[in-house]
Each structure stands twice: as structure tokens, then as C-alpha cells.
Subunit: 243 residues, 2 copies
Amino acid sequence: MATIETILSPAQFHLYEEGIENKNVVVIDILRATTTICIAFENGVSEMIPVASPEEANALHERGYLAAAERHGETVSGFELGNSPQDYTAARVLNKRIAITTTNGTRALKLATNARRVFVGSFLNISALADILIRENKDVVLFCAGWKDKFNLEDTIYAGALAEALLVSMTPEGDATLAALDLYAMAQADLSGYLQKASHVHRFKTLHVESDLDVCLKRDISTKIPVFSKGVINLLLNEGAHI
Amino acid sequence: MATIETILSPAQFHLYEEGIENKNVVVIDILRATTTICIAFENGVSEMIPVASPEEANALHERGYLAAAERHGETVSGFELGNSPQDYTAARVLNKRIAITTTNGTRALKLATNARRVFVGSFLNISALADILIRENKDVVLFCAGWKDKFNLEDTIYAGALAEALLVSMTPEGDATLAALDLYAMAQADLSGYLQKASHVHRFKTLHVESDLDVCLKRDISTKIPVFSKGVINLLLNEGAHI
């Protein structure tokens, strides 16, 4: 039976690296990078390149990309896009290519690069993502981007939600997945209410972006599955031949 | 208000090191190192020295210490004591000095060495420990030893139990403490039943040491508080002048 492991923070990624080339990794940065990427693809972006620094995003801007940069929760001064999913409307992103750098999410994508396949997970596409993971039937690693290498609640809750959907044909491996499942069980009746206590939601209030929270918790508004491969995020459909 | 932070694994310790000299750290390795240390002090051991390797334990054995060594859950061949709290009876440890090396716990103690004070926590002395932490009224860091740098349920549940006792005069800081509190709330009605799913309890069954689990979950059978200072674990009472 395929297994479901959970990595609670990038500081633990190295403990799970062995054999990762045979595993499907889901990168999780619910507030907000991976949610924002899912929204962008739902709204028709043609490709996204996660980069390590605002400077790299600017370099791609000169080659025709929209440049998006977020640090510490805020849009970096001078950039047209930040990390708010509400910025990524069809009017702004349809058929565009975007270079994006964020505090946690882009780094996690790069760490996971040697995995069999690197999926971009969010509540927006959770059921479609669960379906494809079940269909592929490979060991799954749920990789929480966290906050500056620390544990966070929202990514863990999502790992629990996705793990629960996978239990139909996979088995949890390790205590982190069990904890994620239990925390999700506790939170699921009212995710937004549960997450009011999370550190990053307090950060949202300080930054006046509270309305992003509800956007990030919307379930199944997209069936599009972004995957990260060879430095670029594209839709899985574009790679159908690999399945 | 003093804060309660939680470190879910030694792989994250470095993220919490800044300012640790002003914080009280509780090292947590419920199955079994910190439980075993608490039992040993309850049964009259005079001091314990955590060492990194069986070789170091042997070197101290030649200087009159009892030598205890555990790796991967088992007593290292040739050692008189392992990591089972049931080995540490008064008949064996009263007025003795012990050198001990374990898979996770001794390493966590050494990592925490620069803290204001390093307490050895277990369910056995949880209320006495909560009392002293509240009395000292310094920021507290609950440091889970985990399993080979991975997250584990039993240490996190204990962190939640101790955090709950501290809430009377302290405030949780960071999502890891919130998660620990919630997992403990879920587990507390039947800790042993809840932990049956934990990876390390499965390991116990393989090693035929299941009876250790109930010993490790006994609450408040000791009021003794072991502290680690300058490489040695002693009772806090012996250091009263430092309070």
C-alpha cells in the first residue's frame, strides 16, 4: 500500500530525501504561495517560474515575465504582483508568464525538485489533486512550507485534509501524518474559525489582508493541477504523456 | 506575560536558540529517556551524566559510574542498564552515579545546554515542574526530543499537557504550542489509548517493552525536578541557591 508521509517544516526536509525520486511530493503553502499559484492557473496563467530572490524575478521581467515578489507577508516595493491570490485575476494573468518569489513557498518547491513529481497543493484544487495522487498510486509526501522553517497550523491542517482524502487507498506513515489528520479532524467543521489563532492569521490582520484567508480556504473551485518540473510550474495536463 | 514556545524536533532547535540564555527549557523524551531520568532520581540516584556515545559511558564506568546505553530502542549489548524506566529501581540506583546515552534524549539535553535552566520533563513530575516554571515566571521552551530528528506524538502530547498547566500565568507563542495543546486536548481522556497509533509504541511492541508505556504515562508520582547543568543532571534542590 502506498504511504502518506508529512514533513512539518523545510528544516526537516533532508530527513525525507532518501528515495524521494520515487515519491510524489505535494508542496503546501496555504497562506499563500501555493494557493496563489492555483488561482493563477485557474485564471489562465501560461507558466510560472519560482525564483529565490526579487532580483531574479526582475531579471525575468526584462524577458517579458510579470514579476511577483513577497517578503514577510508584504509585496516587495516596486513589484506589480505580491503573494495575494486576489491579485491574480484573469484580467491580469491570462496567457501571461509570471516569475514569483515568496518567503516560504518558492523555497519549498525548489527543495522538492528531485521528487518523482512535485504538485502544488491548496484547498482550491484539493479533490482533483487527491484523485490524481490516488490514480498514480505512488508514495506521497505532504511537504508543509511552514513559516521561516517553523511549523505552522494552516499547512498542517491542509496536510491532514489531503491525507484524509488519500486514506481510501493509502496508509499514513509516521507520527506527523497522524498529527495532521487529528488536527484537521478538530478544525474541519470551521477551518476559518479554527485558524483565527494561527500566527500567520495574526500577521494577516497586521498587514490588513484578512480577506485573503477566506479565499485560501475555498474548497474545490479548481480542477487544475500545477506541477513543478525543471524549474517551471505548468499544468499537469501539459505533461499528460508522463503519467 | 511569559511565553510558552514548543520545538517539535531537534532539527528545529537552531530556530529557537536566540535569547535562550534567558529562557527555561524543558527537554522532553517521554519514551523514554526523560521519564527514565525522573524515575532514577525518584529512586535516589545521586547524579546522571548524559553522554553522546556508549564509549563515553564506558569510560565513566571505569571511574565508578553505572553505565547505561540505548540505541534504536534497545539496550546496547554489554551494558548493565538501558533506557527502560523499569530498570531503574532503588535497589539498583540508590546513591549511585550513572552515565547514560540514548538515541534522542541525551542529544536534546546537550543542544539545550545554553538555556537559563534545562529541566528534565516527564508525566511523572509534570505538576511539580509546572509549579516551578510558574514560580520562576520566565519564558519557557518545551523541547521535544522526537525520534531521530522527526516529530513524534508522545513528546508533543506531553508538551501540550505541560503547556496547559502553564496557561494559568503564561501565553502560548507560535503555532507549535497551539498544535500541542490541541493534540493533548484530543488525547488526554485516554493517553495510552491515543498513543497506540504512535510509531514509537509500534516500535515498543516489536521490542517487547510495551509495559514501559504505562509507566511512562503515570502522572505525578514524583515531585523531584532533575536539571541539567554543566554536563551533569542533578536535582533542582541541590541548586536552590540559583533560584
